[in-house]
Symmetry: C2
Subunit: 432 residues, 2 copies
């Protein structure tokens, strides 16, 4: 049986998971692809680090250059994390004609254009299923299964940490800080959870999905990203009273004539929508295609085994591409979709909570500001709050651009009756 040599860069949670599962299910993989996937060398940043899974000393390489130079290694599997080192490694691998498998979403989001240009130039495929939504095969779905489709929209819950925190806040009424501390204690949030809770982990994935869907590599500076740090237990409760749940949502929409939208932010979604039922660390992506219609993909978006499942599927595809070279290298640019809309242009519905003095006339003032800016109000509630002297005034706002809403916020902040910073959360009604 033909042996395919893999050079593994990185032996953290995912790298070790790939190594273990390749061993555990090696007979199954051999039966299915008729080849043996064999890790020949492993390189890590710190060989002395204590690890849950022992790194086999006989496979340890001194530098990633050894992996590139080894003639028995045909696939470079990059699972190091970080940006500079993996970029250098991947570009060197492509130039050396070694197929690349990576799960590095930050790297692809920031340097995808450059990496796939090199892949096309050297005709070396780059596989990256693990870079978005872990065990959920959403990249394969967008790129291959829905190739006949203009992707009208994708709505994704693609950060398990945020979804876990928001689920805990929703189910138990606790605050953000408490939920975050618990998530860290349970291993669902990292010691430094910044990239998760500020939305950028989801944003990296959204960039990859949008780029695949629309044929040009979306820049990190072109998208709007807002995290969940400012979501309060009150907001979640008020949303619930209005029939909504709050989720960190990646929203991707495309139209050939007017451009595309890529944004990641907390959003109120109808409690009856299927995405509202995605709890805890699970991921889900709802995809609307012009031919296929409405679809949904659901599964574990992170974790050792689910991510290893995605990486190994890429390793198998890479092995088959060695037997039969591919004419597709991971991302094919085209020019059917023009540009990325700025957040100021993007139309949305909104939930607006304003801490106000509890006296007559305040609603009239706020409504006056909105009306003058042509912003329509669909409903108003004044729920019981927990903010002391101020009371929450909650307005649901019809379709408006961000530019309109920011103009309104400037005027609302200046009202004497407004006691603290208003809170604006977008509402996704899935109507279009």
């Amino acid at each position: 049986m033909q042996k395919i040599g893999i050079g593994l860069a990185g032996f953290g949670t995912v790298g070790a998971g790939v190594f273990l599962n390749l061993q555990r299910n090696r007979l199954l993989l051999a039966g299915r692809i008729g080849m043996e996937l064999s890790v020949q060398k492993i390189v890590v940043r710190d060989p002395a680090k204590v690890r849950a899974i022992t790194l086999p000393p006989e496979l340890l390489a001194k530098s990633w250059r050894e992996l590139i130079d080894d003639p028995d290694i045909q696939i470079i599997c990059e699972l190091m994390g970080g940006i500079d080192d993996p970029l250098e490694l991947i570009l060197a691998a492509i130039q050396a004609g070694k197929i690349v498998v990576t799960g590095n979403k930050a790297l692809l989001a920031e340097h995808g254009r450059e990496i796939f240009a090199a892949a096309m130039k050297y005709r070396v495929p780059v596989f990256f299923e693990a870079a978005a939504a872990g065990g959920v095969p959403i990249i394969m779905a967008i790129r291959e299964a829905f190739i006949a489709n203009h992707i009208r929209s994708m709505h994704g819950i693609i950060n398990g940490t945020c979804n876990y925190i928001l689920t805990q806040m929703t189910e138990r009424g606790i605050g953000f800080q408490e939920a975050l501390a618990e998530a860290q204690a349970s291993g669902y949030a990292e010691a430094d959870p910044t990239l998760d809770i500020n939305g950028w982990d989801a944003a990296h994935k959204a960039i990859i999905l949008a780029s695949l869907a629309y044929g040009f590599w979306v820049g990190t500076e072109q998208i709007f990203v807002e995290g969940i740090e400012q979501i309060t237990a009150d907001d979640i409760r008020f949303a619930r009273e209005l029939g909504y749940r709050i989720k960190l949502l990646a929203i991707i929409k495309g139209d050939e004539s007017s451009g595309i939208e890529v944004r990641v932010h907390p959003a109120l979604i109808p409690a009856t929508h299927v995405l509202a039922s995605v709890h805890g660390v699970f991921n889900a992506v709802a995809v609307q295609g012009d031919v296929v219609g409405e679809t949904l993909f659901y599964g574990r978006g992170a974790g050792q085994d689910p991510t290893a499942s995605a990486v190994i599927s890429d390793l198998a595809s890479a092995a088959l591409a060695i037997q039969a070279p591919r004419s597709h290298f991971g991302f094919t640019p085209h020019a059917l979709y023009g540009r990325c809309k700025t957040i100021d242009e993007i139309v949305s519905q909104y939930y607006l909570r304003i801490p106000v003095l509890d006296k007559p006339g305040v609603l009239a003032q706020v409504a006056g500001v909105l009306g003058a800016l042509n912003i329509g109000i669909s409903s108003v509630i004044q729920p019981e709050g927990t903010e002391g002297e101020a009371v929450p005034l909650v307005l649901m706002i019809h379709d408006a651009t961000n530019a309109q809403m920011q103009a309104a916020l400037r005027e609302i902040r200046a009202l004497a009756a407004v006691k603290a910073e208003p809170r604006l959360i977008r509402v996704e009604s899935f109507s279009s």
Copy 2:
């Protein structure tokens, strides 16, 4: 731009949908794959038939042999339906080295072994994403995305007609015949709905999914199939009172040591399970892999456009396989899973409704029969029925084999207090 010639056999709902969408999204497809997919010839059984979409007369071939003989045709797209003609066409195409795309589930279920043996022999890929769950890319998921996984189980709602009928019965309390008639009037059931409602359409798809998952082609005679014709409005109501919904479920389970299960039958599932929320004509498949864990795929399983989306994704894969020949031909047999369990061996939980005389002692008699056969009862209800002199006695039964239950039914039928045929419906609790 390279032109890839397609010979289209069949111009019914799906064939016409493929033709139309290939035209409508041709720029997108060209941008994504760098080739032009061009239908060169079309063959139909009855050229004189009146069609919703006009068949372009200049493309009409006299026989499928013309498609095989045309040197400009590299892909044969079989969407004729039926068994004998398409089998002959597909085998001739493979021998002629033309890549095959088909959505013919009945054909693959019955002749998959033969077709894929020919595909491997002549090294010609056969693509069939449209043969299971239409627009839901479940074949790609099982075969490629989850290649690293032992598939522990698949639970599928994969017949839209049955799901539409059961949804109507559940939501409106109507009977099977009324719901079927409405489904026919609305176009959700065919004039002859036999294959849908007797479970065999779902069974064909289940055979394809199980064969891909377990590496041997499952025979139609090896599986258990039961339709929804006997489900009554009462059963649905009683199930609801017990916290369940009734769905036509394809259940596929595999274990390397004890064999695999493939069955299609109505099943009570917990109302809180995500599959209970799959309504109307939608399809969904929950897949449990040993590495990836729990996943779910959801979308439209039938209809012109969703099915065309799947067929066109196969046409694109076929076109790429012409540029870069594949080493994978659609199905790779292996011997890691041994055999298909018979229904008599299969362990399940059950809902058992027995129409009985309303007098003391009947439950004791039934419980005595079950107890003597070592069958445990988990709960009993005696709801208000609509059956005249008999009243329904409903028992929920713990794990038992079908052999045990059939033995029990023989004795229960013989009890004097039992007034009509008992009704046994399996219960899937998703516990394993």
